[in-house]
Amino acid sequence: MTQFVVRRLVQSIPVLFLITLFSFILMYSSPGNFINPLEYPGEMGQEEMEMLLHNLGLDRPWYVQYGDWMWKLIHLDLGRSFKFRQPVKDMIAARLPATLELTVTSLLLALVFGILIGVLSAIYRGTIFDGISRVFAVAGHAVPIFWLGLILIWIFSVTLRWLPTGGIKSTGTEAWDLWDRFKHLILPATILSFGRVANFSRYVRGELLEVIRQDYIRTARAKGLMERVVLMRHALRNALIPLVTVLGMNLRWLFGGAVLTETIFAWPGMGRLIVNGAFQRDYPVLMGTTLFSAVLVIVGNLVADIAYAWVDPRIRLE
């Protein structure tokens, strides 16, 4: 096992290199660059522009800039954002907790509801409840998230005034005022969880149904145990293990997948950092976040593969 892990990590290094190279080339070949909005006629003269280009290092060929970035990276320096002139490392560190708060909460919510719905559908399979709960689970995923978000803001914030319209906490309140944090978190986290509830519940239902057919379950039933107990103790435990693999694959999403929700709810997270960076062509930010995301994917895949192997002995870790 250790051999496997080490080998995979070593194999990841060229992949990481490839990722950063690909991203760099993508950024540089796209039309538009950071300077453009500043060149807007009347705003900047030729002299200032050239100086700015030079300060940002943009007047060098792309491979030189790439080399420079890699050199800084080896010294654990991700450079400074073009727009904010702050170290990219600090910017990511500042926004990461916010995103995690949102995505982890929504993941937990999705797990809870997903498992609940999945189990209930499996038990009552074929009945109306099964049908309705499946529809319900999918419905949340079928709705464009920003549409639902704004409608809920309209209902719960503007009309009912129960919840705030956005942000991570109210200005003037302390960060540990949990009730305030909860009020801000509940709406975006719930909406975000819908997308995953569908997948989780279907997955759990499918796995449960499969496990039900197995002989040892039949044996347990033959012994006269109640179906519910049978399910809970034997089936559920087995069926849930593969869920770990699903979590592994979701790792990347945890850190940057909530862009639309973050925009609607003014949530100061990573997703918005990436979007704004992309629109403004803020290369250091984009490279920093891409690298971060890449590391997460690699770790996530590793976790997922290990979990697969642990669960299914047929698949040998080569």
């Binding site: 727009k83 500042a94 926004r95 704004l150 925009t263």
Partner: protein, 575 residues
Amino acid sequence: MKRLGLLISLITIVSLLAACATPTPEIVEKVVTQVVKETVVQKEVVKETVIIEGTPQVVEKEVTKVVEVEKVVTPTPSAAGGEIIFGVTSDFATTIPTLSRDSTSASAQYLMYDGLFRIDPVELVPIPWLVTDWEVSDDQLTYTFNLRDDVRFHDGEPLTAEDAKFSIEALIDPYNSSVLLGRLNVITGVEVLDTYTFQVVLEQPYAPLITFLANTGAQILPKHLLEGEDLLATDFLNNPVGTGPFKFKEWAGGDHMTLVANEDYFLGRPRLDSVVFRIVPDSASLVAALKTGEVDISGIGARDIPQVQGDPHLQVIEMPSDCFYTIGANLSQERFQDKRVRQAIMYSLPREQMVAELLEGHGYVTDSYILRHSWAYNPDTQPVYRQNLEKAKELLAEAGWVDTDGDGVVEKDGEPFKFSLLSYTSITPGYNETIQQSLKDIGIQMDIQLLDWPTFLNKAFVEKEYDSFTVNMCVPLDPHNPTVWGCGTNAFFFCSEEFDEMGMKAVATTDREERKKYYFEMQNFLAEEQVRFLLYSGTTIRVVNTRVVVGQGSPRNYTLASFTLWPHEWYLVQR
């Protein structure tokens, strides 16, 4: 509009009286009134001629109208204290004025720093602020400034001429690529004469010097904290120190920035305790936040006005905008080189209707390239282009464009008139489509290409690869604008020596009346030539919660904090 004008006059008179008393600003208890809009239901009996079964008859109808009435109210001030929350849609780029390029950053800096001069929000002229008085040498090349001696930075250090010298030098240092570099590089040197006196030396006479020193980007930095630092990579960014009415407290990246009152502000402690800027990226969410009171002040677009109008807690403040909605045609293309074609395009556009509908009436149609609230504006710019489809078609035909094959598109020499319009994603919805429809009505086929902002700018202004583009063009108050119109520097291949000459003559003299003559001519020239289609100008709109008193809007509205009351005078109302 009239009542607003009266209001402004009232405030002007009072502040002029106060200003005449002393050359430096003091805490002036301005008579501040607020204009509150109320909706009132009016019932009217109206006589209408209706055709019933072929015969016209006069019929009385009762019509119910919901009308908005402006009431002038003097709110009662509360005890000092409280907090105002601004809503902005993007994060702050920088807290250092020298480096500032966007209005969000400038808004926060306006509260944290002071400048040598400041633009008076009502009179729109620079008034001395940190400077008490100054002298200009006979050759107009040397300015000697005297500073106030009672100003301190937020860390207690006094403001001296050294700081002024440091700040000005930072502005003209090409390394910092300040926005003001091109406008202030006539400065050859700054000399400190004594603690509170310094001299600025120019290489040629320069009328707009003081105006640019009043820009928010020229506000004074603390030399003792920034000397020797690389402004582009300093920690000062996260802990800015200025002399302004509000001190920096914290900045949670992407979320909010908090400023607290500066107890030792040279004009007196601000009435408010703190000011917060909250970042709300989505415009619909921002409107929601305004409605719930989570945000007190924000800028919105014209189309959002109906969404906040009915709300009794929100007040809509409108100010003349510095921007025009324009279309630039690629004049290197032959078909656009014929003046008649360009005029035809202008005649096809329903500009009044666009202002009435797309801007909800908040704007004005103009044929002049100079802002209406500028002293150089020519109200009789000729020719005037009212929508006239017939005339437009006539002009096209004269230029040789006729629909020979009946497909709805005019042709010339076998070439149909088709071109593409480059635009960007955040433009007013409906703007491009309306233009497209209008051109279709005169036989020109235009298709729309939307790009995101950097790509758009790249294509339009750098690569200059386009048939036409639309852009919201914002201009500085001073009518001298060679980058936009000058030969070789503008983006749409316009070159007229005549025009450039007039421009040079206009700026060589400081006599305003003479300059006006030139600018009037230039406006008529461009209106006739239509090298860039100026459609209309909108207004800048702010929404202010009625619990907050900041005065009225100012045409100098570059920052969100630009109101007729200075920031240290803002207060909350007790209701």
